[in-house]
Amino acid sequence: MADGETWQINTSRKRVRKSVDRSLAHLDECLLVHQKSQELEGVEVFGVVEGGDILEERVRSAKETAKRPVSGFCLDGLQTGSMAQALRTQLISAVTKELPEDKPRLLQGVGRPDEVLASVEAGVDLFEGFFPFQVTERGCALIFNFNISSNPELAELEPGEDQETAGDSQHNGDLNPDDQAQMTSFEINLKDKRYQGDLRPLVEGCGCYCCRNHQRAYLHHLLVTNELLAGVLLMIHNTAHYHAFFGALRDALAEDTLDLLKRRVLGQTERKD
């Protein structure tokens, strides 16, 4: 991967333009070195698309980078917290329009399930991020449902108790783009007293080590007593759950049921006012 530069929101057009130019120059240098190097034989180079939050610069960066002999594209500067989701989607769509269909697009720093869904629709293939880790760090467990394989009529039923209580102090979306440490509605906070006597697994039917062997009450106890095992078990579950979500996402794309998946996953964040 070539190196890019990330920018704040509302960066001046002049500076953004410079970053696009610089990144392209870096890329060309990297490709030269890569060509000449024997050790790097077999190693692929990804180009990095910059452009801040300026549509024209994004398109220009994409067009130019696509001219180079790279094997894939990294979309930089669009990470969670950098801008509103709507703008991110717009920029990604515009970028991917300029990129060849047969080369992968990697998005850095985006992890929330709703953001992932929107980004996939806009043309992203690979995600690099640490959302499951962040969830673990705040003592939470991912519990959002992405199961659409059952009876579609059943899929419309009232969400379970967890989904109602999940992150009910939070409102997802763009209200606090900088507040990445905040709990989302895709998770439950196991430090909460309500889980003290809850003898169910984190997610019924989850095949991960944590859910097969332990209960919410135990996780609650570990968190309250500051025990190291809490992080171990939560990380196992959160990673497994997140990976399974991506599995469901791939299936939904293959079977053209993405809308159903979106409703299932995002339906849990809607306030039923």
Binding site: Q196, G197, L199, Y209, N213, H214, Q215, A217, Y218, H220, H221, L222, V224, T225, E227, L228, L229, G231, V232, L233
Partner: protein, 417 residues
């Protein structure tokens, strides 16, 4: 006719007595089978049959105070061959409390540990949290460090909590005094411990499933220890612990109390020496006749980056290991040594708590392995050789052997050349 009938009746009675005895012994939740005894020292190798599984002794029991072993999953612990570990009544009694644990199918169910559990009574906290406690004949009054609430831990309450926890071995609530305390308090504590033992025995709701061990007290005073041993061995308990030691006293006094205790404890019941975990201490105290040990040391020191090895310990965080690509111990078969180098662990300590877990696993493996080797040598009749080899590996030269260890081993016919 009358004579025959009388004989028949007598035969019936003795048959009844035999079958009653058999029924009782089958109902006993603890059986000790002595597999081998060292002809030179007082060491034994036994099979300790407990409700959840058999335990091979001598055994080291890792400590999982709050129902968890500091970052290690129960699967990992099981894979290391651990057959019994500890939980603490005081801590678990406070959080999450006995009612929830009982609902979750006891401590076994709550932490999902399928092998044996031993619970300490909460007595030791009287010493370790002495600022926050007040001791009377009734029990120990604690001020909770979490919410300032006062709780009274009586023998009855301790056993009640332990009954809810459902441990395979429960410890009596004893009146514990620090081993560095002298004077009448030591005698008072010893006598009270006997009275509390009786109260614990009466309070045990599950004698057919849970074993209650007595704890011998008496500080560093020979007479008091002997008096305690005489009294407590008269109670019908399935096992005895040697308590009140391993608290900072002189090692010269320590080993003398250990060997005095094992001299006066019944052969056919297990001897549990509490709070002992350093490798040298373990080997010596096995030679002095102890079967079971527990200590936080190996797991605690792991979190500081100290890895235990047959020749002492490695401080993994030290610069010298930054480029050392050997495992902690090339001869060790634990998952950490099979997969990771000292250099990796050294680097990992700077950024990730996973480093602690790797070293914890290694240290537990080290302790369990040590005891396995000790047991094997007793079974094969070469424990004295084992001790000599062990000491040579651990200390660079003869004059570095700890004096107390040399004396203690000499007392059981082991001379270290």
């Amino acid at each position: 006719m009358a004579a025959t009938r009388a004989c028949g009746a007598a035969a019936n009675t003795s048959e009844n007595i035999m079958s009653l005895k058999k029924a009782l012994s089958v109902a006993s939740p603890l059986t000790l089978r002595i597999v081998a005894e060292c002809p030179v020292t007082k060491a034994r190798a036994c099979d300790l049959i407990l409700p959840h599984s058999a335990v091979s002794t001598p055994v080291f029991m890792p400590v999982g105070t709050q129902g968890t072993l500091k970052g290690i999953t129960v699967d990992q612990l099981d894979a290391l061959g651990c057959q019994i570990c500890l939980g603490n009544t005081y801590h678990l009694g406070m959080r999450p409390g006995p009612d929830l644990i009982e609902k979750a199918n006891g401590l076994h169910g709550f932490m999902n540990w399928k092998r044996n559990l031993l619970t300490d009574s909460g007595g030791f906290q009287m010493v370790s949290l002495v600022e926050l406690s007040e001791i009377t004949e009734e029990g120990v009054k604690f001020k909770s460090p979490y919410d300032g609430k006062e709780i009274l831990l009586t023998p009855e309450k301790s056993i009640s909590i332990q009954n809810s926890l459902g441990s395979d071995i429960m410890m009596q609530l004893d009146d514990v005094v620090s081993s560095t305390v002298t004077g009448p308090r030591v005698e008072e504590a010893m006598h009270r411990s006997i009275r509390w033992l009786d109260r614990c025995i009466s309070a045990n709701k599950n004698p057919e499933k849970q074993n209650l061990f007595a704890i011998i007290q008496g500080g560093l005073n020979t007479e008091l220890r002997k008096a305690c041993l005489d009294e407590m061995t008269q109670r019908d308990v399935p096992g005895f612990a040697i308590g009140g030691l391993s608290g900072g006293e002189e090692k010269d006094d320590f080993w003398r109390m250990v060997t005095l205790s094992t001299d006066h404890l019944p052969r056919e019941k297990p001897r549990y020496l509490m709070g002992v975990g350093y490798a040298v201490d373990l080997v010596v105290c096995v030679a002095l006749g102890c079967d079971m040990f527990d200590c936080v040391y190996p797991t605690r020191t792991a979190r500081f980056g100290s890895a235990l090895v047959p020749w002492g310990s490695l401080q993994i965080k030290n610069k010298q290991y930054a480029k050392d690509f050997e495992p902690i111990d090339p001869d060790c078969q634990c998952p950490t040594c099979k997969r990771h180098s000292r250099a990796y662990l050294h680097a990992l300590f700077k950024s990730d708590s996973a480093a602690m877990h790797h070293v914890t696993i290694h240290n537990i493996a080290y302790q369990l392995n040590l005891m396995r080797s000790v047991r094997q040598s007793i079974v094969e009749g070469c424990f004295p050789e084992f001790i000599r080899t062990f000491m040579k590996r651990m200390f660079p030269s003869r004059d570095q052997y700890p004096g107390w260890a040399v004396d203690a081993l000499a007392s059981v016919n082991i001379t270290l050349e």
